[in-house]
Symmetry: C2
Subunit: 462 residues, 2 copies
């Protein structure tokens, strides 16, 4: 798909499936409808479960951050000041201090970390919250992908040692991969961002991204090593066993639920519509009774109810389509919504004690004895096959190039591996072609000057 086709398809998906409504009267702030909220809630619960298993406590911090708190860490405020919404009045009164709508919660949380952390017994401190954050984007907004309000989960920590902070980063990588590759069946690349592209106030930033059908990458989560930047300015110290005071080491991280939802739609979807990973699909299986004119349907309806009961007792979110639409129209409707399995039951199936199951992801159709119907296995086969297919599509769009010409050609098509010497002059043409996602330690000839350099990955990004 080219950019225009893709954009048209994407907006049609959002609209037809009642995912978001962009007609709300504040630009860049769409309304999330039933389908979106169901899926986001599934992601959220899965993620929160893993984080809490890992020792994180759920919290909720106020949406507003006073100007002086937000401004404490110099790089942080510099990075966010152009994007912050300011609350200045309440009722008829001018507030004494301006309050920012949280663009992220490092500063508000770390103000309290300094009260919560006293001794090594208070560490590690790991908390998370699922909230909305607010950034006045000046770039072109796009529903779920670049909004001025977005739903995410943010995790924040404090550790006694640097080693523990690094270990935490590795654990979060595993958790985020389980969420993205496991639950959502989306392949991700994990890239350490170049220094100029890190989170404001971080030592370094690791980004999780996937590839969209138009060849651009979509960053869906980030993990930041904050070092002691914030603990210095917020004075977060602990007393160790010897009675010495030390600054804590910190990390913060978050996936964006809107972007993950956009990735689910775009990575798996096809020309017929959505293709939903079974675990997050609001409806996991739809049963279509196959009725014929002039033939009494009572026995079929009874049979369909029996199938529905069996699936419900297996914990499957199942619906029966009793509407009097034409079967073709029904198929079309449920395929568009990406329901993973369609189950057809007609007179012959009833006679043989079988059902026909049709996979949304492959279109594969087979007849199965009702007694043997166990969708858990089918769902995990679907997941596995969706993962493989998506991974293949991603791998097909990886390009290894040597010259700037090749780099420029492929940067809009996918992920380009090239070389860069590290010089400012040589970064300009690369920057014009795309964004440097990561710089590795591997040697690679510079695509611009041909000199000695390091391997980089480049792509156009959302």
């Amino acid at each position: 798909m080219n950019e225009d086709e893709f954009s048209e398809w994407y907006h049609r998906m959002l609209d037809e499936n009642k995912i978001v409504d962009i007609r709300y009267s504040v630009k860049g702030m769409p309304v999330y409808r039933g389908m979106a909220m169901f899926i986001i809630r599934e992601m959220q619960r899965y993620l929160e479960g893993m984080l809490e298993e890992n020792g994180h406590e759920p919290v909720y911090f106020p949406v507003v951050i006073p100007e002086d708190t937000l401004s404490k860490e110099g790089e942080h405020i510099k990075g966010f000041e152009d994007q912050v919404y300011w609350v200045t009045h309440a009722g008829q009164n001018l507030l004494e201090r301006k309050l920012a709508l949280r663009p992220t919660s490092e500063t508000s949380m770390y103000e309290l970390f300094s009260l919560w952390v006293r001794t090594h017994n208070d560490l590690p401190l790991k908390i998370h919250e699922s909230v909305s954050v607010y950034r006045y984007e000046t770039k072109h907004t796009r529903p779920l992908i670049r909004s001025r309000e977005f739903l995410w989960n943010e995790g924040h920590t404090a550790f006694a040692t640097k080693e523990e902070a690094l270990k935490n980063i590795e654990e979060i990588k595993v958790i985020y991969k389980k969420l993205i590759e496991g639950l959502l069946c989306i392949p991700v690349m994990v890239n350490q961002r170049p220094d100029w592209d890190k989170f404001p106030g971080a030592e370094y930033t690791i980004a999780f991204e996937t590839l969209m059908p138009d060849g651009k990458t979509l960053q869906v989560a980030t993990v930041h090593n904050l070092g002691q930047h914030f603990s210095k300015v917020f004075n977060i110290t602990y007393e160790n066993e010897k009675g010495e005071k030390n600054l804590v080491w910190q990390t913060s991280y978050g996936p964006g639920f809107g972007r993950l939802l956009a990735a689910v739609i775009c990575v798996h979807g096809d020309e017929k519509g959505l293709v939903m990973p079974p675990k997050i699909s609001p409806t996991q299986a739809v049963i279509i009774p196959v009725l014929f004119k002039n033939v009494d349907g009572t026995a079929i309806i009874d049979y369909v109810k029996k199938i529905e009961e069996k699936l419900a007792s297996q914990g499957v979110r199942v619906k029966v389509d009793y509407s009097d639409e034409h079967p073709g129209a029904k198929y079309y409707k449920w395929e568009r919504q990406g329901v993973p399995l369609r189950i057809e039951a007609g007179p012959r199936d009833l006679k043989e004690g079988k059902v026909v199951i049709v996979r949304r992801d492959t279109g594969e159709k087979k007849s199965v004895p009702l007694a043997e119907l166990d969708l858990a296995k089918t769902f995990s086969e679907i997941e596995e096959s969706m993962r493989t297919k998506a991974k293949k599509k991603l791998d097909e769009r990886k390009f290894k190039v040597k010259t700037m010409q090749e780099l420029a050609k492929h940067a809009g098509e996918g992920i380009v591996e090239a070389g860069w010497c590290g010089e400012k002059d040589c970064v300009k043409p690369i920057d014009e072609a795309g964004t440097i996602l990561s710089i590795s330690n591997e040697e690679h000839e510079c695509a611009v000057c041909g000199g000695r350099g390091k391997k980089i990955t480049v792509a156009k990004t959302y």
Copy 2:
């Protein structure tokens, strides 16, 4: 407890159990910690489950509402204008239109209802969202009870007929009672508010309230019959079967999760600390190994692990206290947190294959064979007994009075049933004594003038 004692006790509960932290630097906006978020999430999931079972779809609407949208319904904006936080700037720019932080979402949602509703096929429309809302309270704030940011769930509907809207109100009453009396074991009173105390823009408001230990009532949820007030100004119409255009009938409703949590703490708590209803307690049972000095504890530890496994397999949220504190200190600690059951296991218990279980709510202690340990039954006994106890406490604080003197005496102690003739002059002394919660149709002599009047209920309120 008198007011001061109660206030001291309440703040100690919040602090010792890490429920909220009031030290965040924006007045009236506390931080919700692990214990609070766990309980609130349990309430939220239970409520959302019931609402969706009833046909509500989850949604998420932007936090900001443009001034012109919020101002469309005259009474609504008059009721909220003094309490609204205004976003006026983004980055360095002055916004073209002021944006309100949602104090409630009628206006933002109904702007889209007018796009979503076209024909009778789009009805009924029932949605809900769990979000924070913002009200610049000028009254004394109090954590969880009166905050400037609070967490709630709000439901919004549109129906073709008035009858359906009324039926919906009855269904929501049942759902809210299941949440409050069922899950939280708190007795509620359902009162239709006097006309002057209804939600701005409603036909009438029904309030759910419970009684706090200091004799004041706490409103924990409201349900509003909006009639066609909003559908008129937002032009929400549907075409019926005959092709005629009609305005929809609407309702909206919401419980406050912070206030419900405050009620859980205060209605059930005692001098030892919290008493948690089992279903929402982060820890439902704690096992204390009873070890003796100079006696090898290995066998006890193995036994305790066996108990833990058995309970975990029953789905119980169980912890073992392996700390080397004195047993008395352990008991005290877990009692303070309100953990519903303590399970003690020492050498004699091991020998007899039994455990000692101690109920937090009654202190009742009994020895039970491990093989027969099934906490589901015990938990529902605890719930039932907590409900009965709380109901009894409420009933003991209901007063039926005839004179203004009696009314004034008892209005600070609980709920007073009295009479009022309906005249303005007579309402003044009543208003000074307390708040009129409801006016019934039953006849009752006026407490002030002795004339013919209606029965009213009066209390001091939070």
